[in-house]
Amino acid sequence: MHAESEIRVPLILGNKSYRQITDDIIRPIEAKPAKGWYTLVTIFSLCFLWGIFSLAYTIGIGIGAWGNNNGVDWAWDITNFVWWIGIGHAGTLISAVLLLFRQKWRMAINRSAEAMTIFAVLCAAIFVLLHTGRPWLDYMLFPLPNQFGSLWPNFNSPLLWDVFAVSTYATVSIVFWYTGLVPDFAMIRDRVIKPWQKKFYGLLSLGWGGGARHWSRFEEVSLVLAGLSTPLVFSVHSIVSMDFATSIVPGWHTTIFPPYFVSGAVFSGFAMVLTLMLVVRKIYKLEAYLTIKHIEYMNIVIIVTGSIVGVAYLTELFIAWYSGVEWEQYAFLNRATGPLAWSYWAMMTCNVISPQLFWFKKIRTSIVATFILSIVVNIGMWFERFVIIVPTLCRTFLPSTWNTFTPSFIDIGIFVGTIGMFGMLFLLFSRFFPVIAQAEIKTILKSSGEQQKKDAASHHTHA
């Protein structure tokens, strides 16, 4: 028996058996969804419709439909791209890095965190594909032989590195997620009664049977994929940050960007996982699997990464002053006191001050406080990307190009539309797919179930 220290808090509450885990996880799929589910789907679909309209309008009219202008040529498009891709990183971090560190608590959240990754990367893709201006020519991003002469993309450019990094990241995340889902689809296939469901999950399960050789390969594949995804996730956001860092724009041209972007990504991603998990936990009554301890662990990650982000902000300010480069100094003065200073202070409050509240145990174990703060953190991280991009481009080297930025109706529409798409996809996922990796959760039942731990403890004292 693999017993575990009694001091460790149980990760599965109540007296659960393998059968009950199956029952609990299949419930949202077998039962009719709650009213709240329909309400949320309607709201998100309406947002998504606004997004589709704005997308169509942008494709028809061109990116003149956005608030971008001559000086501010990157604005909400790249802000939203970096924000979404950053959110996606928590999913990989939870399933890959926490797997390598053998953190059992990841098992309750990894499935939905990976789903969130994929949906967030899809949202991010909309912005990169659209910001090129002529999205129907986006295939030219890839090094395809073409009829335009010996024309290859420039492999020296971080923008091209981004194409490779993001497409590798998106596809690897999808196979990682899907491979993990296969045994759970098989469980659903063997459980459901309705013929269409049997057929549907039968197709999705790819004939999985759970034989010993298959499990042995499955575990090896998961481990190696985790090992591959870990450097991948760090490389992706490092490369995203190099889109900025390799330019000569003051405020962007800094070596701190890669680690600072990666920790910011993890920070915002964990916040988004928390927001979603608290909703899922409530609608699907999964309190036994997503315990307060899970929430507390995630909040601790938020304190750590939030503090790294805070230190990075201060380091940037210090280095700007210490460098003696007046362009650099001006860039930061402009962010903090210029025309868009409110966004800088919004970022500072949301990202540096608010996560520090989690030092109080009362706050980090409170569901309401966590829910509010997780949204605050995501707002803050959106402002971080906005502050890096827009105020900087409003005040570049040539004062005659100085400008300001106001988002257009279409800008707002696309952003809200991606939130709608993200929410809608996540709700559909949680309705039709198992939100918790039940096969994995079953492996820790004996060591981390509440009743099982109690039994082991009493057995220990008797012996």
């Binding site: 090094p143 063997d190 790819l206 759970g210 594949v221």
Partner: protein, 193 residues
């Protein structure tokens, strides 16, 4: 050598409620010389590979090889496009050689390595286990994806009684005889003479 004869094999399913007695039964079966064809379980069982004598999977080695292929392909691609076919002249500095320009090529080389290692391995996994759309469910009893552990045995007549005895004493919940099949005689080279 006697002439080869067809053998009859009997299929037996030993179904357990829990993985601990199941592992115990596996060890006992093996030590009494019975080969365990397969074990079906709802989740990976720690220590099962040892108990039924499975060699470690080599899929990670495949992944390493795919990674090397990805790395080579990316290198070849960038050398061809940026150095051989069309050295872009940026600021009067075209790429004279791969060696001089290599720092800028590292990120994509890395991404391509990961891409091929991950996708190659997953594809190998799906094909090796024959997990393809439309494949028939491989578990002999649908309860094994929920909460049952099934030891799948193919036994000769002499082994059958002994195996059922072991399964029973180890605490199998059910022992199901699932019919028999005939193994056609195997003609080895020696026997053919």
């Amino acid at each position: 050598m006697g002439s080869p004869v067809a053998k009859t094999k009997y299929i037996v399913h030993g179904i357990f409620n829990d993985e601990v007695p199941m592992l115990d039964a596996c060890r006992k079966l093996r030590s009494s010389g019975i080969r365990i064809k397969d074990v079906f379980s709802p989740m990976p069982v720690h220590g099962l590979d040892d108990a039924i004598g499975l060699p470690r999977t080599r899929i990670a080695i495949c992944s390493f090889i795919y990674g090397l292929i990805g790395m080579s392909l990316a290198t070849l691609m960038m050398w061809y496009m940026m150095v051989s076919d069309w050295p872009i002249d940026i600021g009067g500095k075209p790429n004279w050689s791969y060696y001089l320009a290599v720092p800028a090529f590292i990120p994509i080389t890395f991404e391509a390595t990961i891409f091929c290692a991950a996708h190659g391995m997953v594809l190998t996994f799906y094909l090796r286990c024959w997990l393809v759309p439309g494949a028939k469910a491989k578990n002999p009893d649908p309860r094994t994806t929920d909460d049952k552990f099934l030891i799948y045995l193919e036994l000769t007549e002499q082994q059958s009684l002994k195996a059922q005895e072991i399964l029973k004493t180890s605490g199998a919940e059910e022992i199901n005889q699932k019919g028999s099949f005939i193994v056609p005689p195997a003609y080895t080279l020696e026997e053919a003479h």
